[in-house]
Amino acid sequence: MSLITFTESGFYCEKADLYIDPWKPVKRALITHAHADHSRSGMNHYMAHLHSIPVMKHRLGDIDVQGVEYGETICVNGVNITFYPAGHVPGSAQIKLEHKSESWVIMGDYKLGSDGVSTPFEPVKCSHLVTESTFGLPIYNWEPQDEVMNTINKWWAENAASGVTSVMLGYAFGKAQRILANLDPSLGEIFVHGAIYHTNNALSEVGYKFPKTEYVTNETDKKRFRGAIILAPPSALGSTWIRKFKPFKVATASGWMALRGARRRRNVDKGFVLSDHADWTELNKAVTDSGAENIFVTHGYSNVFASWLKNKGLNAEVVKTAFEGELSEIGESTTAEPE
């Protein structure tokens, strides 16, 4: 019997009787990170990194959750469980489970580059690796964050110079903080949508600090929006809320913006390629660095990435999950294709 099995409710460790990122209600759940498709409601007991807890509580209400530190090992019925940084969003973790000679790492979502907010990724050795594959095609290769942020700041400055408001769309937890932390506050005022404001507050409980922002309310003087930047979740596009910033330019930041088709469909003025997921090179590096002999590929271009790994002589297979990767971020179909 393998230490981890793939069940209808999610990844299951029978020996310790707990699930990792389950998508159906279970007794005990280990959570890699606080995004909605990995951290779902209805579990009796949660275990997550300390930094995930405020956002989880903000989203799931009053849950029973135990916090752990990176590198801290917890033993459940002889299974050693350790959380390692995954670099995806604040509090995100790769979860390692070890028993005797078998060691599994469930990576959750991850990226290798440092984003200036989340604790940077650390490679972890194991025999069995579960990796995502959101951008598991060789067409996805990210530019360094500094370059992308320079173009975002430049875009903001150009808009400000022509008296236009800049509306920047990004997922409310993770992407928004990453952009916020790397904006140049000398360019003007920074406003945030409520969803981002509350997430920032939750994160500040565990010590995260961000440049000064202001919550957009109905009372905010509209004149102040001119030349300012507004951070908002993707759902704001096309809403009545966004109209108060007229005249404005709107941009979106996502890995999907690497493709011309997606950029044009999204109907924004500008698409910045900025992702919290590993690109093609990073996915390959993460797999190699883990030293794992058995690779399980989840959400994304899993069939292609698994075939590629097999091509390289690795023992790889596809595992179907209910995770969504970054697709939900641009409102496109969130279903991966079956084989």
Binding site: L137, P138, I139, L259, R260, G261, V304, W308, T335
Partner: protein, 532 residues
Amino acid sequence: MKKFARLISALDSTTKTNAKLEALVNYLDEGSDRDKIWCVALLTGKRPKRPVKTALLRTWAAEEANLPLWLFEESYYIVGDLAETVALILPPSGQNDSKSLHERMMQLKSLHQKDEKEVRHEITRAWKEMSKVERFVFNKLITGGFRIGVSQKLMVRALSKHTGIEEAKLSHRLMGNWVPAETHFSELILESSSTENLSRPYPFYLAYPLESDPEELGSPEKWQIEFKWDGIRGQVIKRDGKVYIWSRGEELVTDRFPELVEMGQTLDRDAVLDGEIIAYKDGAPLTFNHLQTRIGRKRITKKILENSPVKLIAYDLLEYEGSDIRQEPMEKRRIFLEQLINSNPHDALILSECIKEKSWSGVAKIRGKSRSLMAEGLMLKRKSSEYKVGRKRGDWWKWKVDPMAIDAVLIYAMRGHGRRANLYSDYTFAVWDKGELIPFAKAYSGLTDKEIKEVDRFVKQNILEKFGPVRSVEPHLVFEIGFEGIAPSTRHKSGIALRFPRMLRWRKDKSPQEANTLEHLQSMLDVYQDGN
């Protein structure tokens, strides 16, 4: 090519016409004459012959990136654009292209004389000298078709702003078969018509579909009303005794239609005729399929000429005895046209008949007979109208009959291209035959973006099998498919071929069992053919 790549990015990143116009004018203002002529040619669809097979580009790009070809192909399915896939997959170069657009175009032209090894060397070296965006543009120069929303009209507007020459003159100067590599910007654009090419056609005046009640157009007597034929719009030009035939797609098609050339040669004076080229035999039009046998091939055999003879149904006269008469009112041009045809009777030349009715209800009755006469409906042209350039509202309307329609089940889907890349937007539809679904038509248009997303989600969740890029899906969704014509076909399993199939609406109210049958289609075919 740095500047041209910047222009393409600017055009690509906006949907606003004014922003596109500004980007074009900036490029023209700053560019060299040699680059400008290429820019005009490329963005108005004048593309040199493809110098490299795309299969080779795929192989070379995959090898440069150290990837197996199957992985390149998988990526291409997702990207939906070959030029972009190549640009994305190659390792970054850290370079910007120092060669001009003209230099790159001449380089591509020179590849026709080189062997495969040399061509590969040149292309892969070029990739290494370029940034990602430049590579994309360079690849597009090879594979063709930018699709960035620059119409001929917009290019003409930009040129007009750049040169100060009026738009109508410029759009005429851009017509014809000038070759960018051999044409100087100043000769083509700036010089007046004295040196103008004898074969140069006029820009076609195109009609909008009639959206309102015809009663709002005033008395029918103010309108020239004619049948709208399902052929190829064409211009027959006779100048200095020479005959040229142009299609609306701005292609010189003289050698495809020897009977029209012969007709032109017998004309006793110079003229430019506008009309419909149509397959016609025994006193009646033939289906569009017959015409297709005339366009599709280089050599027109005796047999094809016998089976599918063509005629010109002439409806307008643009130039008469050497003068451009496009500014004259329709009714006056019509008198000249009648004069010309009456004094030059020819078997391949038919004067388009004018329908004379006192009331719109009378006109509507005649419109109702269109299909049985092999016409698509009616054309309404204001008798006082001049012959304009391009598609304009107000004076010319097409009043087509409603399309034929059938309810069908979606059974295959493919990802689209360009704006629809990575979305399943191209579908194959089937009807029932003895309990089996028989595919009979492909359709790509007619749905809103929102509906496409919804179908895309359904497809992704209901895939049955994969055949290369094609996915067979659970036969569940029903659509009303509209089409303009139907003809027998030996090439399709269903035994029929449709003209202009598209989705009229999504029949969410219907279950797949309620879709139509092949028998329905066959009965439509019978009715349509009987009217012949």
